[in-house]
């Protein structure tokens, strides 16, 4: 099950109908609370996509309050069943703020660039190589990733586990896969 959340709609609903800029910490905290309420529905979706395409300006404070703290909650308190958040609709100027807060908190996220999932934020070379294989081949098991990268199974299991803990890959019945963004469509919750 997937869910699409339009951040600008949340902003206007949770804070002020006249706002189009994501600025200030209190605004970011209110938007994050509203998003968390949507995530805590009775039947939570496995993948939720947070869509920034309607957001005009995003400052560092809001980037930290919304994105970094959402990711922190996901990585520090994994849920059962697994839940993942992906992002889309971020422009270059949004990325300036996002990269800074991700770097500061050593977090990374999966976002959609022209229909393709990409990583944003600090990851080790090893994590990046494993993630690339999972994106290209997923769903894929650890032994196949290890074989493709010429590594031991133990090493790849450790790295994939780290990627899973950071919510950058999903574990499914068919193997590891990259969480993919959902496009907005009428009727989906926003």
């Amino acid at each position: 099950m997937m869910q699409h959340i339009d951040v600008s709609t949340v902003l206007q609903g949770a804070v002020c109908a006249l706002y189009s800029n994501l600025v200030t910490r209190p605004t970011g905290a209110a938007v994050r609370s509203a998003i968390e309420a949507l995530l805590e529905t009775r039947h939570p979706p496995i993948v939720t996509t947070i869509d920034f395409s309607g957001v005009n300006l995003l400052d560092f404070s809001c980037a930290d309050e919304i994105v970094a703290k959402l990711l922190l909650r996901q990585t520090e308190s994994p849920t059962v069943p697994d839940r993942f958040v992906t992002f889309r609709g971020m422009r270059d100027d949004h990325l300036d703020a996002l990269e800074a807060v991700l770097e500061r908190r050593a977090l990374a996220l999966v976002w959609e660039v022209e229909g393709r999932p990409e990583l944003l934020g600090p990851v080790s070379d090893d994590e990046a190589r494993h993630w690339d294989v999972v994106r290209a081949r997923g769903p894929v098991w650890a032994d196949m990733v290890a074989a493709e990268l010429g590594l031991t199974l133990d090493s790849s299991v450790r790295t994939l586990d780290s990627l899973w803990r950071r919510r950058l890959v999903m574990r499914t019945d068919a193997g590891f896969t990259v969480p993919r963004a959902t496009a907005p469509s009428p009727g989906r919750p926003s």
Binding site: T24, L58, S61, D92, D93, E99, R104, L119
Partner: protein, 311 residues
């Protein structure tokens, strides 16, 4: 007895020190007259800092307006007298200002006391900022959003740290003295608790013999320390973001608080990175100056972390 504080003919970040030096020896409740009769020009820093100076006084000060009609008219159009009327007893001829009609005033002097004010400031400035930054100063369109972020973070410093309201103003002018180019300047001034006291209120603050206003500015501006960092590692990024934006566009950032002033200095300027032992002045006074770009200028440095954006 009323002490007369002489306002320099050209009032900017540097010459405002003369105002502070005259104010410092006076008791807060001493009656003061700010004599601006001979003033001919003021930067947004100068005007917002004058308001902060009034805010710092226990006794309502007097203010003698510039005698030059053009100067007084310009100060009126920046919104200065409207706010000054609430803080000073005004003397002299005070022209009526028409709000927001000055082409080089991006944002007239605006009070900032709460979060909604930051939204209003950022919302009001965006279209005009795009026109002026891209159209007049030839900055890439990407600068407009960064400028808005910088303005937002600078204003939030007042809301989160000052303990009282402050003022922001944004203006373009020709900075011939050092640069020979047009610049856009953000000035954000308050007379609140300042950086040192703000950081001292953090539970993780450790006082040592070297701790003073200069070390507090170093901690906040250079090392991105915030009083909220205790328990929230994401704090302190606002000033870091301002610094990044300013550096990227070859601009200058300076922050004065208490008895010290720190500056991030571009190659075109010869300011001092740190000045200590200044005459004391409460609160924080921030100036961000971004110069016009000319053909042949080196490309702006990449945004922070761009290396990892799309691998």
């Amino acid at each position: 007895m009323t002490s007369v504080i002489s306002v320099p003919p050209s009032l900017d970040e540097q010459t405002f020190e003369h105002v502070v030096e005259q104010l410092a020896p006076l008791a807060p409740d001493e009656k003061v007259l700010f004599d601006a009769r001979h003033a001919r020009w003021a930067s947004p820093f100068g005007l917002t800092a004058l308001l902060a100076a009034a805010q710092s006084r226990a006794e309502r000060p007097s203010f003698a307006a510039p005698e030059n009609a053009d100067t007084a008219s310009y100060w009126a159009r920046t919104g200065f007298f409207r706010h000054a009327a609430e803080l000073f007893e005004l003397h002299g001829t005070i022209p009526r200002g028409r709000d927001g009609h000055e082409s080089d005033v991006l944002l007239e002097i605006t009070p900032v006391t709460q979060t909604d004010d930051v939204h209003a400031v950022v919302g009001r400035i965006q279209q005009k900022a795009a026109d002026i930054l891209h159209g007049q100063l030839k900055l890439e369109t990407a600068a407009t959003m960064g400028f808005g972020m910088t303005l937002s973070e600078a204003c939030q410093n007042i809301v989160e740290h000052a303990g009282c309201g402050g003022w922001v103003a944004v203006q373009t002018y020709s900075f011939r003295k050092r640069l020979g180019r047009r610049v856009v300047v953000i000035a954000v001034c308050d007379a609140g608790i300042g950086f040192r006291r703000s950081l001292e209120s953090s539970p993780s603050h450790r006082h040592d013999d070297r701790w003073n206003d200069a070390r507090a500015l170093e901690s906040a501006v250079v090392h991105a320390v915030s009083r909220f960092r205790h328990g929230d590692a994401g704090r302190g990024q606002g000033l870091a973001g301002i610094k990044r934006f300013t550096t990227r566009w070859d601009g200058k950032l300076s922050v004065r608080s208490g008895t010290a002033r720190i500056a991030m200095i571009p190659s075109w300027d010869e300011d001092e990175p740190m000045r200590e032992g200044l005459a004391p002045f409460p609160g924080a006074q921030v100036q961000i100056m971004i110069p016009e770009r000319l053909p042949g200028d080196p490309k702006p440095s990449a945004a922070a972390g761009a290396r990892g954006r799309i691998r």
